[in-house]
Amino acid sequence: MARYVLARLLRALGTMWLAVTLIFVGLRLSGDPAAALLGPEADPEAIEALRHAWGLDQPLPVQYARYVSNLMQGDFGRSLREQRPVTDVVHERLPATALLAAAALALAVVIGIPAGVIAALHRGTLLDRSVMLGAMLGQGLPNFVLGLALILVFSFHLGWLPSGGLQGTRSLILPALTLSTYGIASLARFTRSAVLEVMGQDYLRTARAKGLPTSQILIHHLGRNAALTLVTVLGLQLSVAIAGAVVTETVFAWPGMGRLLTQATELRDFPVVQYGIVLVVLSVVGVNFVVDLLYGLIDPRIRLQA
């Protein structure tokens, strides 16, 4: 197990390193930031002074080393627009995004998994078909379209829920629903095929033949074996949820990180975007690492292979 964990850890660190290096390459490819900041009519000496202050007159390897060591020390620079450390700017926005993502993930698990199990147990019936049709719709609907449709119906027409912002639990309902729809749909599809696959196995037929009640079979035989697929899907869901949050937060004027990143991109406030990316990559890599560990725990064959 120790070797397995170590291999996964190296992989996670490698991903982080590659991401940071690519950002650095992109940064240098995009031109001279000193000249860009001071504008075309700036005094060449002023540009040179700024380049010197930022260390841009150093050779590239030196710049790279300094860049990486700054990031490692948690120094991500200051927001160009707000003139505050980007860590402050971004951290203020984290709770709102975490709340939204947690609510969406919970909805996806609570609705998606049972829907998939029910569809699989009633394979070929009208119930199964409607669940699958719903899942197809859920995956085919871009979340900004869905969000706007929900606002139109529930905020403007019925007047039941607020159309945006974060005030109280009621304002969480529409954004969470919007963000979770894709997750609900893909979890339902995945659960269904995972359950169907396990149901085709001999040990399940045996369990049925010896007269175990359906609930027992579901929990002890299906659960554990379908868990592997589900853990993978849940890990991937995070990635989907982050991308979805960027759009959903903009639709609902949600004061989270996704909206901040969009605005920062528009204003080309690079330090903010960079820190946002580092956080996103960190969380995705972290979750994938945990997923890999869970893999090894659920299925010993996997950790022995590595």
């Binding site: 719709l137 900004f144 403007f156 960027v246 639709v251 528009e266 975007v273």
Partner: protein, 304 residues
């Protein structure tokens, strides 16, 4: 993205049977479902109308007429002058929807061609050459799979600014890892086949083996994947344009039409409804086509 992961496994498994006779037989037996024919007619109609848009006698999609702002569509108090109504600047929605179709569908197709080519070449090389090349390419695939592409896109747009070349590059880079993974798995399998071993022992060059022997035997699953990836690219372009970071005005795309119209959602919901609905229908039609193609090209896949 999530769905393509298992699709991938299915596609690889499907390619396990190189028996061409069996595949042909299956193709003959398969009848196209009625719903799919409907979907294809709709897709064809959208494409033909989009291509013909400049000659349909519709108003210029960019022409603003502020006296005609937010005219409702036909049947809701609108007139034949603007069958689908107008947006907040008095631009004709039907004409923008069709011009936007050209942009959105065109960009997604272009993105598919670029990422398919890039991913296939890298994947075939990784699977066929193995060793260090394979490890480097596989690592890159893993990294791109794990990081949400929208975030990479935001970084690139911050650094290089918005613009068509950047947008096309982003669309082309998004999803290459899907093809690369599949092509790698397929070429790993194919390079064990007897005909490849035979070709190699005859002294055929690597390029020629890849091009003449491995690619034709891996093309079908890759093209199925390309169909399924098309909607991902359509989503990416629409999402970026919706956020104001993709296709820039005055060029219409379905995404920026939605982005424009959302501020007038309460007084002019039709300006959101029509592009949103079109996007949904096209996505469903293309996804259904991809699923069907996968089932048809893959007779070994047991039907669930």
């Amino acid at each position: 993205m999530v769905q393509t992961v298992t699709r991938q496994q299915e596609l690889v498994q499907g390619a396990a049977t190189p028996s061409i006779g069996a595949r042909r037989g299956a193709r003959r037996r398969v009848a196209v479902p009625v719903m799919l024919l409907l979907a294809w007619s709709m897709l064809a109609a959208v494409i033909v109308l989009a291509l013909l848009q400049p000659w349909l006698g519709l108003p210029d999609p960019a022409a603003q007429r502020l006296t005609d702002r937010l005219q409702p569509p036909l049947g809701f108090g609108g007139s034949w002058e603007h069958p689908l109504g107008t947006d907040h600047l008095g631009r004709d929605l039907l004409s923008r929807l069709l011009a936007g179709a050209r942009v959105s569908l065109g960009l997604a197709s272009l993105g598919v061609v670029i990422s398919l080519t890039l991913g296939t070449v890298l994947g075939l090389l990784a699977g066929f050459l193995r060793g260090l090349v394979d490890q480097a390419i596989s690592f890159a695939i893993d990294v791109q799979l794990s990081v949400p592409f929208l975030v990479i896109a935001l970084a690139a747009l911050t650094l290089f600014g918005t613009g068509l070349p950047v947008l096309i590059a982003l669309l082309g880079l998004s999803g290459w890892e899907q093809y690369a993974r599949l092509a790698r798995a397929l070429s790993l399998r194919a390079s064990q086949e007897l005909y490849v071993v035979a070709a190699r022992s005859l002294g055929v060059s690597t390029t020629r083996i890849l091009w003449r022997h491995i690619l034709p035997n891996t093309a079908a699953p890759l093209l199925v994947l390309a169909t399924l990836q098309f909607t991902s690219l359509l989503f990416l372009e629409s999402a970026l344009s919706f956020l104001g970071l993709g296709v820039q005005p005055p060029t219409p795309s379905w995404g920026n039409m939605l982005g424009d119209a959302r501020n007038y959602l309460q007084i002019g919901p039709w300006a959101v409804l029509f592009p949103g609905l079109t996007l949904l229908l096209v996505t469903l039609a293309v996804n259904a086509t991809g699923d069907w193609l996968r089932d048809v090209t893959d007779p070994t896949l047991y039907r669930r």
